[in-house]
């Protein structure tokens, strides 16, 4: 009897790659060879048999109306060939295979973590998967596709991008790759029909910004909710802006709404509205379907205004306009991160603007705060090169305010905020770049007035970092395995000793663990010890042996071939050894896993 051990994970991985070019679906012969070698069957005959069954497996994929080849397709194809399918490789759709190379060999493998059974037992059961259900929606109404969440966005981000960057190349969805199948031979035919197209001048299509009645209503509702008084409604509206796929037609209106809104409300010092508008900007940026690049010229000035404006609220001494500045600064940083390119240079332009106003002597404390916040959010590099060198100067300025006698309350508050802002941002950066030890004197000479305070902050930051590192270490030690079903495969067999013979097909098909979690929390959790017993039982007639331990709160053990465990909680462990019916004579290896 021919037996195959098919490393199906490689196959599924190949199928993944295959999605790129659906036309040619093939396994490279090298990987076939590698597979054959890895399982110890070098014979060509089997290789070709497998290659043929792959051909058949594709049929199953096509008829299953899938794009991905699954292991069950291979099994079905082997069945067609009257070859016994493989047992035990019931994989999920996605197999996280890994790649390694060394010694001139390349290897794809499926990393199997060692699993602590008690972890699995203690994790609550996953929810029961939902049943198949049917849902109807309108894909098109008299030829027009309604923009509802069930339908895809009318234009994808890429299309919005090409539309704005290459207006001559606008392609309607789904019309790309026209005639991809036209054979290469057709190049020989005279392009008689194409001459006409070349002659005519291609005009940039007029972009339309007409909104349907529904969209107008939606726009009205959303903008009203965003700046209205009801917080629940606002949250809903912002959620809609952040997730709705069909907004791109309304984008110009939204950006104008925001920029105008900021302009008006900064003059009127309406802090609340400014915050609402910034939240809208955030929501727009969070929406993955929108291509915002076209509207940055309106959005960035609005955001920068909220960072550095002299006055944002009516009572600067009481209102927390600092939070708005922080928030806007973070938005700005996010903007720079996502949209800055070598051509638009957003980040460097922003940095220049902020630095310039910061260096200005006449800048007020509020604007000064905004500049620093804006710069600090841009990252440690910016802090290192732009802020740290200015710490001494800024420190003396703060000192003058704090210790001077004739200053307004507002200035004092401003100075305090700037001080804490600088401490907050600089400490972590200094902790990284400055070698220990941290002495107060050294800091005072380096950073002036702020030195001593910085020193204490840096020490705090260092201890915190050390703590975090420890925690990180610990988390890597405990490996949680969320999957309730795990397939134990051959990796464990190496421990059983003896050379591996090609006839090994014995792979336990599945190890199903069902863990009834104790209902009363007072019950002590079971000891985390685990025993994995591997036994090679002599060949018996029956190769199916099921050990079932079950002891939930109410039920008594069903079958027990294992001495009763010490813990009150006994998980239900089922070990099935799936072997072919033709294997009765061979000596099956069996693994008992006892907890």
């Amino acid at each position: 009897m021919k037996l195959f051990v098919w490393p199906c994970f490689v196959l599924t991985a190949m199928a993944e790659e295959r999605r790129q070019k659906q036309c040619s679906v093939t396994l490279p012969t090298e990987s076939m060879k590698a597979m054959a070698e890895s399982v110890g069957v070098g014979q060509l005959q089997e290789e070709s048999c497998v290659a043929l069954s792959e051909e058949d497996a594709l049929k199953f994929m096509h008829h299953g109306k899938r794009r991905k080849l699954t292991t069950s397709d291979i099994d079905n194809a082997l069945k067609l060939k009257n070859v016994e399918p493989l047992y035990g490789f019931q994989s999920q759709e996605f197999i996280p295979f890994r790649f390694a190379s060394g010694g001139g060999r390349e290897l794809h493998f499926y990393e199997e973590k060692e699993v602590d059974l008690s972890d699995i037992i203690n994790t609550p059961l996953p929810r029961v998967p939902l049943d198949v259900s049917l849902k109807a929606h309108w894909l098109s109404i008299e030829g027009v596709q309604p923009s509802i969440p069930e339908n895809p966005p009318p234009a994808t981000k890429e299309q919005q991008k090409t539309e704005s960057t290459e207006p001559l190349k606008v392609v309607k969805p789904g019309q790309e790759e026209e005639g991809a199948i036209q054979g290469k031979g057709q190049g020989a035919t005279a392009p008689d029909g194409k001459g006409k197209e070349k002659g005519s001048i291609r005009l940039k299509p007029r972009s339309t910004h007409e909104l349907s009645v529904e969209q107008q209503l939606y726009y009205k509702e959303i903008t009203e909710a965003c700046v209205g008084s009801c917080e629940a409604k606002r949250a809903e509206a912002l959620q809609s802006i952040a997730t709705d796929p069909g907004l791109y037609q309304m984008l110009p209106r939204f950006s104008t709404f925001i920029s105008e809104g900021v302009r008006v409300n900064v003059v009127q010092n309406n802090l609340a509205l400014l915050i609402y508008l910034m939240r809208m900007v955030k929501a727009l940026m969070d929406n993955p379907t929108l291509y915002l690049e076209k509207y940055l010229h309106e959005l960035i000035p609005a955001v920068v205004t909220c960072i550095v404006s002299k006055q944002l609220c009516l009572r600067p001494d009481v209102d927390n306009h600092w939070a708005l500045r922080d928030f806007a600064a973070r938005l700005m940083a996010q903007c720079c991160k996502t949209f800055s390119t070598t051509t638009n240079n957003i980040q460097s332009r922003i940095t220049k603007t902020l630095t310039k106003s910061w260096l200005d002597e006449k800048t007020q404390w509020t604007a000064r705060y905004g500049c620093i916040a804006g710069l600090a959010e841009l990252g440690p590099d910016v802090i290192k090169t732009l802020i740290l060198p200015r710490l001494t100067v800024e420190g003396s300025r703060i000192k003058a305010v704090m210790e001077g006698s004739v200053v307004s309350n507002i200035d004092k508050i401003g100075a305090e905020h700037v001080q804490s802002l600088l401490l907050k941002h600089c400490a972590s950066v200094i902790a990284k770049i400055r070698p220990q030890p941290d002495t107060v004197e050294q800091y005072r000479t380096d950073y002036g007035y702020l030195g001593p305070m910085l020193c204490s902050h840096v020490i705090k930051a260092r201890t915190q970092a050390a703590l975090q590192a420890q925690q990180v270490n610990r988390t890597t030690l405990t490996i949680t395995q969320p999957r309730p079903t795990l397939s134990v495969s051959q990796s464990g067999l190496s421990g059983s000793g003896g050379p591996r013979t090609p006839s090994i097909i014995k792979v336990p098909s599945s190890l199903t663990l069902m863990s009834p979690r104790p209902g009363t929390p007072s019950q002590p959790s079971p000891p985390a010890t685990k025993y994995i017993v591997m036994a090679t039982s002599a060949g018996t007639a029956s190769t199916q042996q099921v050990i079932t331990l079950s002891s939930s709160q109410s039920a008594s053990p069903v079958t027990s071939t294992v001495p009763s465990a010490t813990s009150t909680l006994q998980p239900l462990v089922k070990v099935e050894s799936g072997s072919g019916p033709g294997l009765a004579a061979s000596r099956p290896l069996q693994k008992y896993i006892v907890v």
């Binding site: 659906q22 036309c23 040619s24 093939t26 060509l44 005959q45 070709s48 290659a51 043929l52 051909e55 049929k59 199953f60 096509h62 008829h63 299953g64 109306k65 899938r66 794009r67 991905k68 069950s72 079905n76 067609l80 009257n82 759709e93 998967p129 939902l130 049943d131 198949v132 259900s133 049917l134 849902k135 109807a136 929606h137 309108w138 894909l139 098109s140 109404i141 008299e142 030829g143 596709q145 069930e150 339908n151 895809p152 309607k172 969805p173 789904g174 019309q175 790309e176 790759e177 026209e178 005639g179 991809a180 199948i181 054979g183 290469k184 031979g185 057709q186 020989a188 035919t189 029909g193």
Partner: protein, 724 residues
């Protein structure tokens, strides 16, 4: 398997000419160590004890059309199917409705079954043709010499002669492999495989895995190539040119291959252009021979039975204002007159026996007529609305979908072997009461049909369990009482939608069954599967009435013609075949697809056929003339669903690329120019007007479109499962 074969062989013993089959059965039984059955069967058939032993010698002589030659080489599946077929030959008449044609039909079945066997003859016999030796080193020279010649001929001939490359390449390669010139074969393959047309890529890949003589044994692809001659259509001038060249050069190697392995269909007239050839090529065994598409096809529709529409006017008048009834009168007349006139292209009403209409069918017809008066007229300016039914949480397991004609029920087949039925109207699904409860019902009451239903079982959906493998095809009966499903487990199952239980399991395919469909008149159904044949069944027979054999690879989809006299099948060999239900003959072969065909649809008037394949193209065919009419390019992935609107104006196509597209079918058919030449030769010049014909593209949200259906009022329903 055992009782079935024993039973059938018993009946086969009656027919004396079936001695061979009997021997085959005995051989099979013995091979499977069923000695008792062998004994019993032998005794009953009255065969001498040594019959089986001498059989080996008998068989080696290829006497009876190749059937006997391959007993050892045959696998159990095809052997059994042969037995099953021949046993129906033994019974006096398979069914009384077929009495008129039984003799002829049965005879034909026998021939067909022989053809099945012929597909897989003994490998060594097949391969021996390759044994002739040439100098292996010269193969490359021969081929490149020919290549040089063809590249140097006049443009008009070059395209035609280039067709020779692929089959020559394959046969030369196989010859090298067969004669154990492994390295030469490899070099040959590497040098020239890149020159072949891209649509042969899949076949070339299989070929590349054959590098040793031993590999050829039991290789289906190879057998296909050898047993079926590759068909080429070449004009006489081009052919003469080629012939002269080969004779001048004394290039016997190539000439032999052309003589033995290729079928060259020579026609008089202008050589075809490259685009014309490309449109028709791509199938596993070349183009169809011209004779294959010459038979007369009765594509017209059957006369509708005359049903009086009672109470109709009253209803309408009650609902509507005065204007309506006046308008309706002439309309109804026109409909009536249309159906009364006999279409010259229609088959005789009783060409194949059809089930009689029941009262419920008549009611349904009336409903249909009422609905069709409210039908929206679709067209270029008037696109339909599309309602999309998404299967949620199916986890990629949805494999087949069907709607009832009145769009009241949806059925889904799933990879987990289940079939689920949903009601999409407020009317819930109910089972019939148990036998005990049924006894209590007053059978004389008017609403007895209502009373037999068990209210307690009402639910929106029901699950049908029974298959043991993924369900690949599903079809409602026209009267909505039954549901068919076919599966990987090799069976077709008939389910009752009154009791929601399985009624029959039709066995015969033995391999995965890819598709099944009910006849538009009910009673008959067709199925096709991996065993390369399509079978016609009647619901009350557990054995097929017809076996349509001829495809060189899996039959991937099967459809009934609207007049129920024809069946069309699409296959992985990239051809479409139309079969006559009455005779079992293949009456049309359409080539042109470059990938396995996955869906087919007839136009409502029965004149045209649309087909979709993995290459993402939709092709339209004129059945009467046997011509390709149009090529609709646009989809970027496998087309899984096709449907014409109820009036045939539009064609909707659904694909794996998550789009539904609408095409102007009326325009595509109107533009058709069928002059005498094209009709005679089948060489149509296609315009590339896909973009003009495309009326709309509707993207779904990562939901491949698996099925499409036009309601009676021309609303388009689409279905697919959401792939997260």
């Amino acid at each position: 398997v055992k009782p079935g074969s024993a039973g059938s062989s018993k009946s086969a013993a009656g027919a004396p000419e079936d001695q061979q089959t009997l021997l085959a059965v005995l051989q099979f039984l013995r091979k499977n160590k069923l000695t008792e059955s062998v004994e019993i069967l032998r005794r009953e058939a009255g065969l001498p004890e040594d019959a089986l032993d001498t059989k080996g010698a008998d068989c080696s002589a290829p006497s009876s059309g190749g059937t006997a030659g391959g007993v050892d080489g045959l696998d159990a599946g095809s052997l059994l199917s042969r037995v099953a077929v021949s046993s129906s030959a033994g019974t006096p008449a398979p069914t009384k409705v077929f009495l008129g044609c039984s003799a002829m039909g049965v005879h034909h079945l026998w021939i067909l079954s022989a053809a099945v066997a012929d597909d897989q003859p003994d490998v060594s016999v097949v391969l021996s043709a390759y044994s002739q030796q040439g100098d292996p080193a010269l193969y490359k020279v021969y081929y490149s010499d020919l290549k040089k010649f063809i590249e140097s001929v006049l443009d008009c001939h070059r395209a035609e002669l280039s067709q020779v490359f692929y089959p020559l390449f394959v046969h030369m390669y196989l010859e090298l492999v067969y004669n154990n010139h492994e390295s030469e074969a490899k070099a040959f393959f590497e040098k020239f495989s890149g020159d072949q047309e891209c649509y042969y890529e899949d076949d070339l890949r299989v070929l590349s895995s054959l590098t040793k003589k031993e590999h050829m044994r039991g290789n289906e692809t190879l057998l296909d190539f050898r047993t079926s001659k590759f068909v080429l259509r070449i004009s006489r001038d081009s052919y003469q040119l080629l012939k002269r060249h080969l004779q001048e050069r004394q290039n016997n190697q190539i000439w032999n291959i052309i003589q033995e392995h290729l079928y060259i269909d020579i026609f008089d007239g202008m050589p075809r252009s490259k685009s014309q050839i490309d449109a028709m090529s791509g199938s596993l065994a070349g183009e169809a021979k011209r004779e294959a598409n010459k038979a007369k096809v009765y594509y017209g529709l059957l006369k509708e039975p005359e049903i009086e529409v009672p109470l109709d006017d009253e209803d309408e008048e009650a609902e509507n204002e005065e204007g309506k009834p006046k308008k309706k009168k002439p309309k109804k007349d026109s409909m009536g007159s249309k159906s009364k006139k006999q279409d010259p292209n229609a088959p005789l009403q009783n060409r194949i026996p059809l089930p009689e209409l029941k009262d419920s069918d008549k009611l349904d017809k009336i409903m249909y007529m009422k609905e069709s008066t409210k039908r929206i007229r679709l067209g270029r300016e008037n696109l339909p609305s599309i309602c999309f039914y998404t299967f949620l949480n199916a986890y990629q397991g949805l494999t087949a979908v069907d709607f009832t004609d009145d769009s009241s029920l949806i059925a889904g087949g799933f990879a987990d072997s289940t079939v689920r039925v949903w009601s999409v109207t407020p009317k819930k699904l109910r089972k019939v009461k148990s036998a005990a409860d049924l006894n209590l019902i007053d059978k004389e009451s008017d609403d007895v049909l209502e009373r037999i239903m068990d209210e307690k079982t009402a639910s929106e959906s029901k699950i049908l369990y029974g298959h043991s493998g993924p369900v690949y095809g599903i079809s409602f009966s026209p009267d909505r009482n039954y549901l068919l499903s076919c599966s990987e487990d090799g069976t077709v199952r008939l389910w009752s939608l009154l009791t929601f239980t399985c009624l029959v399991g039709y066995k015969g395919h033995n391999y995965p069954v890819w598709d099944t469909q009910f006849s538009p008149y009910g009673y008959y159904f067709v199925s096709g599967g991996h065993d390369r044949v399509a079978r016609l069944w009647a619901t009350d027979h557990y054995q097929p009435l017809r076996i349509f054999a001829g495809h060189l690879a899996d039959v991937t989809c099967t459809r009934f013609h609207p007049n129920s006299n024809y069946v069309v099948t699409g296959s992985s060999d990239r051809t479409i075949r139309l079969w006559d239900v009455l005779t079992g003959n293949c009456v049309r072969i359409f080539t042109g697809h470059k990938g396995p065909i996955h869906t087919l649809a007839f136009s409502p008037n029965g004149k045209f056929l649309a087909s979709g394949a993995t290459d993402g193209r939709v092709l339209l065919w004129d059945i009467g003339h046997g011509l390709m009419v149009s090529e609709l390019k646009g989809h970027t992935d496998t087309v899984y669903a096709l449907r014409f609107s109820r009036d045939g104006e539009l064609l909707a196509s659904g694909s794996m690329d998550n789009t539904v597209r609408l095409w102007d079918a009326a325009k595509a058919f109107d533009d058709l120019e069928t002059d005498d030449f094209t009709a005679a030769t089948g060489h149509i010049h296609l315009q590339d007007n896909s973009q003009e014909l495309l009326l709309g593209t509707y993207m779904s949200k990562s939901t491949p479109v698996v099925h499409l259906h036009f309601t009676r009022r021309n609303l388009l329903l689409a279905a697919g499962s959401y792939a997260a």
